[in-house]
């Protein structure tokens, strides 16, 4: 049986490797702390296997996570190949702000490179030539990823070998994506006629460092959600909500969840951060537990209601403020103004869809 744990160990190994490489990379202004960040993260993955199997205590893992968060949160994580210090939180990451010296009323010049620091990316002219050479073949390895993932997710449960399912039950999608990532490397080696996967690892490290601590954030938010639930946040809000909401009134509860997701996302600038809060408060206790709604539909549409909030908030700088700079717009709110007339009807649509399909 293929177990999902194998892939978690593989990821752990990859990050340990990144940690070692970063710690030895003199082009990284904070190489020791950055290397420590990645190496510790790498160690968390195999250790988690023992926590899940209940053969090791969970608290050392919790402690390491606090250390990792402290390293990143106090700006001790830097990208390799950058002479300057790490970008502060809230700064533009990976966006290339080479503002033209032209007058702002001139048309934008087409062209221009992608941003981000790069450890190994070929120069733009070289990539243009390679794109010319390979053309649409470039999409083959990339398209293999969703195809393989979907195959494992849909057909995986029916593949039985020797009386046992080939893929670990309940993890078919996750195994599918992980396997797809590895199989796609083999496919690209064939397409690009590469002899070894070394380049993939170098490029993987480049993207990993580009993303930085943002990689760990979704998992940390998941952790926060669990702490919220354990500490009784859901119960505290739930009792308040049920005091306000008349018993068994479905539509107001749906509206409260969707609008709440949007509003919290506007305040925080991040739907992922709003999700555990609102789900612990309304989504789970009221809509799923009390009203018996379909959890998959409620949570999916709840998250998308948060995205409506993302369209309206300057807090989501990467999406709404960075383009203002990139496109030389005069008003900071130009992009948000263009999005508001879509976001509001879409939020209403989400409320209607949830009310109709989930109950």
């Amino acid at each position: 049986m293929i177990s999902v744990e194998w892939f978690y160990w593989l990821m752990g190994l990859f990050w340990l490797g990144v940690g070692v490489l970063v710690a030895r990379d003199r082009s990284n202004p904070k190489r020791l702390t950055s290397g420590l960040f990645w190496a510790l993260l790498g160690l968390c993955f195999p250790y988690s296997s023992f926590v899940i199997a209940k053969t090791a205590p969970a608290w050392p893992l919790g402690l390491v996570i606090v250390v990792i968060a402290a390293l990143a949160g106090t700006g001790r994580l830097a990208k390799s190949g950058t002479a300057t210090a790490a970008t502060e939180a809230g700064d533009v990451e990976g966006a290339d702000l080479d503002r033209d010296a032209d007058r702002p009323d001139r048309p934008l010049r087409a062209g221009g490179g992608t941003g981000g620091s790069s450890v190994a990316l070929a120069p733009t002219q070289e990539r243009e030539a390679l794109a010319e050479k390979f053309g649409n073949k470039l999409f083959i390895p990339v398209l293999a990823i969703p195809v393989i993932t979907a195959l494992c997710a849909i057909a995986g449960p029916y593949v039985i070998i020797g009386g046992r399912p080939l893929l670990q039950k309940g993890s078919e999608t996750v195994i599918g994506l992980a396997a797809a990532g590895i199989i796609a490397i083999v496919i690209s080696m064939i397409v690009f006629r590469l002899r070894s996967p070394a380049l993939a690892l170098t490029e993987g490290r480049r993207l990993t460092e580009d993303l930085g601590w943002a990689l760990v954030l979704p998992q940390l938010l998941s952790v926060l959600g669990l702490v919220f639930a354990t500490a009784g946040v859901g119960t505290a809000i739930g009792s308040t909500v049920s005091a306000i909401l008349p018993k068994g009134s479905l539509l107001p509860a749906v509206i409260l969840y969707c609008v709440g997701m949007a509003v919290f996302t506007v305040i925080m600038g991040n739907a992922f951060a709003a999700f555990p809060v609102l789900t612990a408060a309304i989504g789970y206790p009221v809509l799923v537990a009390a009203m018996g709604g379909n959890p998959a539909a409620i949570f999916a549409i709840g998250m998308l209601s948060g995205y409506c909030g993302t369209l309206c908030t300057p807090m989501a700088a990467n999406f709404n403020i960075v383009p203002v700079a990139l496109l030389e717009l005069k008003s900071n709110y130009a992009v948000i103004r263009a999005q508001l007339p879509t976001a509001v009807p879409l939020l209403v649509a989400n409320i209607v869809i949830m009310y109709v399909v989930a109950f």
């Binding site: 990792i68 490029e203 669990l226 649509a349």
Partner: protein, 231 residues
């Protein structure tokens, strides 16, 4: 009720643009302590939560191949594809890009588009050029509106496409969080399927608005270049 201070920490921390890693960790610690948990229990919850939510991070195994294909010119090729839209009207270009971006995001190709990668070098200049072709030089406020709308098509397409892909961060965040916290066993595929109705509505609303940009342009330019509008 004290535990609600933890939520306040999250809201205020994110609003003050502090480092999110720090905000989330502090909020977790504060909430745990206020909820009457011992330090050991809080750390145990952190550890259990992390171990149970590793599936959120599994998409990292795809990074090497994405990086590899980028090395061989993926983004350049994507640009060449989008530039085939160049013959369309301004609204057509915007609507076409919205559709392409949403479909690509839905099959997990998030990094192909983006403000730095496609909007600035491609979509905005093309949409602008289509209007210039038709009306000649444009007043600044019109240029500003076209550019802002180009940025909006990228956001809407990406946001309401990506959740259809079963293994995107948002879907796995949902499943891992509710599975770890409430003991569900949600299938990512089901969560992803429920994103489709909203995606279709988003495409209809923003696509229609994109096409209406042409009409707004005509109204806007009628007073300035009547002969171009008459064509």
């Amino acid at each position: 009720m004290l535990v609600l201070l933890g939520i306040l920490v999250v809201v205020v921390g994110f609003a003050l643009r502090l480092n999110p890693m720090l905000v989330v960790t502090v909020a977790g610690l504060v909430t745990g302590f206020l909820g009457g948990m011992t330090p050991l229990q809080v750390l145990n919850a952190f550890g259990t939560g992390f171990a149970g939510s590793r599936s959120v991070s599994i998409f990292l195994l795809v990074l090497p191949v994405i990086g590899l294909v980028e090395h061989f010119g993926l983004q350049q090729q994507a640009r060449r594809l989008v530039s085939k839209l160049a013959r369309l009207s301004t609204g057509g270009i915007l609507a076409g890009y919205l559709f392409v971006r949403q479909v690509l995001a839905a099959i997990g190709l998030m990094s192909i588009g983006g403000h730095a990668q496609t909007v600035r070098p491609l979509v905005a200049p093309m949409a602008e050029a289509a209007a210039v072709r038709k009306y000649g030089p444009l007043p600044d406020r019109v240029v500003q509106r076209i550019r802002a709308f180009a940025a909006s098509t990228d956001n809407v397409g990406a946001f309401f496409g990506e959740d259809i892909f079963v293994a995107v961060g948002a879907v796995l965040l949902i499943t891992s969080f509710v599975d770890t916290t409430y003991g569900f066993t949600l299938v990512p595929l089901q969560v992803a399927l429920w994103a489709i109705p909203t995606a279709i509505v988003a495409l209809l609303i923003h696509g229609t608005r994109s096409l209406l940009v042409d009409r707004a342009l005509r109204r806007e330019m009628a007073g300035l270049v009547p002969e171009a509008v008459a064509r």
